[in-house]
Symmetry: C2
Subunit: 380 residues, 2 copies
DNA sequence: CTGTTAGCGCTTTCAC
DNA sequence: GTGAAAGCGCTAACAG
């Protein structure tokens, strides 16, 4: 009698052919295929985990000696060391990092709090930060909050309970209260911000020059003849958004163009809102001839709105994004955007954290601001 | 005297204006902006971490009582509990998960090994798996290996040393030896494979019906009049690749088309190779009129090659990808592709792991195969 | 209801 | 060189 592993029903099961000698089944209710292997799995209870005491006993020596041998300390008889290593190997000994961390009160692990990792920005930053940190002997554990403040707080608690040695943070768009991060500071655990930084906390941080990036982007639009430039801004809670908005604003002023508040809309970083707002802008009596968006996903969504309305880009509306997501090169027309040095952001964040971790930090916290670069493509 | 935090030089520093009252600097050598905050950071050594003993002493009770109160056990005087909670709060007590895990010999943490997370596939799978697992009270730590076998082995060692309670794995394209994963099995730590599964290990796993997905994709090309269909296959080491290749193969046979080995090229999942191979295919005396690619990034790279060579898609070459990466909808022309239910893969993987974690698993390991869906767009 | 004791697996004095 | 003993912070019997 075959039972669907999902809905536990028996009636809805059909045989679905044989693949590599195995009968496959299909549950009509769940629309799911499944099968069972031939070999039988014998799930013993968790067996005894071998410890240094096991090694010590087998060798008739003390566990201190085993500990020393395993760590390759100097004051140890070469023969003893080899014997320990051999037995450890033979017993398939795996050191217990928990016990080690407990006694050393350091875990060699650092945490990273990010708001999401669906766009390419955070994965790239994570990878380069990780590379630097792993090389320095640290493990990196990544927590993503899905832009939810509550999840971020929960993640921070978990990392704290697990006694990470340090923390890298790019907070959610909802985060206004930073107590969960101040706790780390109070406990003497170094915190480094990147990308989205808290201006009220005195910690090292890594940002890009959002102001300048936005300024140059808008300048480019002006120099290519645009006069009514709209801005899809990010949430006011993010310094990022504010800096880009300021850059936009100052570029208009600098070139003597009026700042029309009707053309500035700040949204919550969800694509549905982009859709609504872009349509709204296009429906204006005097619609904009250009759009500078907070980020690439927004710009690309704007592109789609234009496509669906038959509005030609860039002829009728020029569009510029921010970040240089790999997608921006692939869309049609390809997207002009302000590139951020993602790998460098990661490396710098890792470097600042290592500084804080290693040195008895005698300096004021360092704040790194990386340059951006305008990449002109066909959407402008 | 200002020193560049990167190159440590003094000569290459320029002042770069004042932002929000702070002097900013620019290092010509490193092309980097930086600044220092006003407030001075006093980096004390790591302060004493408060423990249940501290709470016990302050209250003049035993630490067992504190432990019980904190965990909300039943046999405790409500007054005592409240007092403990108050002091814990006042002292900013944070439980030490390491100590807890050590004594319980379980960490409530599960590991996830993925080959990369730059494409959208793994992030999506991770997110949905995480959701299920967090709800069940587990933390998830994610390790990405960048498709490097050595990194995967190192990650596995770390997770083992940190005594994860369970493991979810999608291995690298290089992985042929699975000893690092068998170790978990031997130690009684449940392992679940997903997406890229090891056929030699008797563990639960989650896959999609690659064979059928490929078959349907090629069938679609045939039914829309294509006769010379090329296949850009993945590495032979991945069952994924082999199943998709088989689906391609059988579809041709089923419709009475010849299988031309010249049109089947297997590549190593790097985009540079895609470029070379697609060009090679297009240079053939009898070039293909359609291409079925192992995955969306490859298909999109093929699209770019065509664009740069002025080859019209789909008129001259129809292209079909695999996975339904969000990008595939955005490229021009939009990409026909075989969608994988990423969220469901994650959920199922998490479910299988929870089963193994909770139940004393009395069954044979379950193998789930999820259906795919052909999404026809403009590239075919 | 609460305290005492032992111990999770490891490192670290301090003797010998 | 090596061992004995104490302790990292917490939980879990077992008494009372």
């Amino acid at each position: 009698m075959i039972r669907c592993p999902h809905c536990k029903q028996v009636e809805s099961i059909n045989r679905a052919g044989i693949v590599r000698g195995k009968q496959r089944y299909f549950c009509k209710a769940c629309q799911v295929h499944f099968s069972f292997p031939n070999e039988v799995h014998t799930p013993s209870l968790r067996p005894h985990q071998v410890t240094i005491v096991d090694i010590a006993e087998q060798l008739g020596i003390s566990k201190s000696t085993v500990s020393r041998a395993l760590r390759g300390q100097s004051d140890i008889h070469p023969g003893t060391r080899q014997a320990v290593l051999d037995v450890a190997n033979q017993l398939d000994y795996q050191p217990n990092q928990l016990a080690h961390s407990l006694v050393k009160s350091r875990t060699n692990t650092v945490g990273m709090l990010v708001p999401e990792f669906l766009s390419s920005f955070f994965p790239k930053v994570i990878m380069s930060a990780q590379q630097v940190l792993v090389e320095a002997g640290y493990n990196v554990v990544i927590c993503q909050s899905g832009e939810s403040y509550e999840t971020e707080v929960a993640n921070a608690r978990t990392l704290l309970a697990n006694r990470v040695d340090g923390l890298m943070v790019s907070h959610t768009k909802e985060t206004r209260n930073f107590d969960h991060l101040r706790t780390f500071q109070r406990k003497g655990i170094p915190v480094v911000f990147f990308n989205r930084v808290c201006e009220d906390m005195t910690v090292p941080n890594v940002t890009v020059d959002d102001y300048r990036g936005a300024f140059v982007a808008v300048e480019h639009l002006i120099q290519t003849g645009r006069r009514r430039i709209a801005h899809l801004a990010g949430p006011d809670s993010l310094p990022n958004s504010r800096n880009r908005l300021n850059g936009y604003h100052d570029a208009l002023l600098h070139y003597g163009l009026p700042v029309d508040n009707e053309l500035i809309i700040s949204y919550d970083l969800t694509l549905e809102k982009v859709n609504i707002y872009v349509n709204h802008l296009l429906n204006l009596p005097h619609p904009p001839d250009a759009l500078f968006a907070m980020n690439d996903p927004a710009a690309i969504e704007a592109l789609r709105v234009c496509r669906s309305r038959g509005i030609r880009v860039p002829a009728e509306l020029a569009i510029v994004g921010f970040s240089d997501d790999p997608v921006s090169e692939l869309v049609e027309p390809s997207l002009t955007t302000v590139a951020q040095p993602m790998a460098e952001i990661g490396r710098e964040t890792a470097r600042l954290l290592l500084n804080a971790l290693h040195g008895p930090v005698s300096d004021v916290p360092e704040q790194v601001m990386l340059p951006t670069q305008l990449i002109v493509r066909r959407s402008s």
